[in-house]
């Protein structure tokens, strides 16, 4: 699916004293199968952008086109396009309402009109996708699960709809490091398998560095940078100007460099950083 965002502006509570511009003239194009990270300070417009892409908000000005159709319209055509997009909100476990995990995950596919016979199969597949065994969890009451398990059930509810575009808004907030790695690993694998478009919104630049090939940096509702992950996240000055601090690997490399080590500073993954430091170590004579 081709997502085109043209001069998109969105103002919350316009013409009241509470008016707040969340997005200000955003132009973007997201192509099918891209892995995009959206980063920015709290309040920079990340979540609003996600909701605009999913057609849940009507723009104040400008437009969002999904394969050429205006995203938020109440027409059958726009609705059909929206159904191809899966959006997991921040803290998706708050949206759980059903009596069993099976029914909860089946809500989305059911609304899409998936045949009853296939729903159970889809639910089982989605639960496995998020790392929950269907045999143990399908008949349990979602409210009795742990926070991390509820999160995964909620995400399974989106995954079960098999979207062509998956938007994850802070999917790992509140999960422990292991749960985080596991979840992102699964999302990564799933994206590779299906070739869907993945849009990851996160405060954790390290997560974005691992999953995204393209990063969009938002600041005050505007696109401050848009480019290959290494270029955007490796530029600590750019990040600082948008109110973010550099990813840990970049910060470490910069510290080494200012201490006189011959290292490059735009590496984002720990294994790359380790190799770079090892090389520099040898150059310095290994002492």
């Amino acid at each position: 699916m081709l997502i085109q965002i043209e001069k998109l502006t969105y103002i919350y509570a316009p013409r009241t004293p509470l008016a707040r511009t969340a997005l200000d003239g955003v132009n973007l194009e997201l192509r099918s199968g891209e892995r995009v990270g959206i980063v920015g300070q709290t309040g920079s417009g990340k979540s609003t952008l996600a909701q605009q892409i999913a057609g849940l908000l009507a723009p104040t000005a400008g437009r969002v086109l999904l394969d050429g159709t205006t995203a938020h319209e109440r027409t059958a055509a726009a609705r059909a396009q929206r159904r191809r997009i899966g959006l997991a909100f921040q803290h998706p476990e708050q949206q759980i309402f059903e009596q069993t995990v099976l029914k909860e995950v089946a809500f989305g596919p059911h609304n899409l009109g998936v045949a009853e016979a296939q729903i159970t199969e889809r639910v089982h597949w989605a639960l496995e996708m998020v790392g929950l065994s269907p045999e143990t969890f399908a008949q349990r009451v979602p409210f009795a699960l742990s926070g991390g398990e509820m999160r995964r059930v909620a995400l399974a509810g989106i995954v079960a709809m098999r979207p062509e575009v998956l938007i994850l808004d802070e999917p790992t907030a509140g999960l422990d490091p292991r749960g985080r790695r596991e979840l992102l690993g699964r999302v990564d694998g799933w994206q590779r398998e299906t070739g869907m478009t993945l849009i990851l919104i996160s405060h954790h630049l390290d997560e974005v560095a691992r999953l995204a090939e393209r990063v969009i940096l938002l600041a005050h509702g505007q696109v401050a940078a848009d480019g290959p992950t290494r270029k955007v996240l490796g530029d600590s000055q750019l990040l600082r100007s948008a109110g973010l601090s550099a990813p840990q690997p970049v910060a470490l490399l910069e510290a080494l460099r200012s201490a006189g080590w011959p290292v490059r500073t735009d590496l984002l993954l720990p294994e790359q950083v380790a190799a770079e430091i090892g090389q520099a170590w040898h150059q310095r004579g290994g002492s």
Binding site: Y12, R15, T16, P17, Q95, N111, I158, M161
Partner: protein, 265 residues
Amino acid sequence: MNLLLPGMYVAADSPLHRLDPRIKMGATLGLMVLAFAVHSLPGLLLLAALVAGVALLARAPIPALLRTTRTVFWLALVMFFFYFFTTPGRPLVSWGGISVTAEGLGLGATQVYRICLLVILASLLTYTTSPTQLAHGMEALFGPLERIRFPVREIALVLTIALRFVPTFFAEIEIISKAQQARGADFYSGGPLRRLRSLVPIFVPIFVSALRRAEDLATAMDARGFRSAPHRTRLYRLSLGWNDLVACLAVAAASLLILGLERWI
């Protein structure tokens, strides 16, 4: 969230924001009573002008303020038809034993007008008065009831907390309903029963989170050593200024003027 929600406080600065909460609450109550004491069309229009004047002084957005009356749309509709069909008088149309009268039309419209005025007045009060101030005002106004062992402070606290969470609650409904829409939920089609059922995915999560919030709040209050003590000291004490006196006199004078004009006309 394109509307001013009923019960929402906006921390702005206006002559009304600066008034003592006791005066504002008293004046609001007075104007509400006035809305029911006035009967003639000129009187009702004058009252609307007075409320509009107050809204301007509060620097409140008038269209948003008018939209707060949406919340009582169904109540107003029921009221209207109740008066419309049950008021005796000159029949306009008679049909199968039920007659619709001109008096019914007038009275129905007047009642709807009054309800809307009440909502607007209440919205103006909460728009210009922070929940804490409201609670302090309430405590002061109902203070005498403590003599008969009425738990004034506790009830003021409960009301403050309830008011405090009204906007949070609406914001939450908005988020959850969007989240369910993203899962293909449809709140707009089908018959009334189907539409009602389609709201379950919104209300269950809202209810769950309200309970969780209440528990968290109780724990937080407990952790700060809150208990229902008879005499609590305060950071900000209420004091009346000359502006409060002016406001008091202005509202009283305007009310008397409207009542007087109505008699006289």
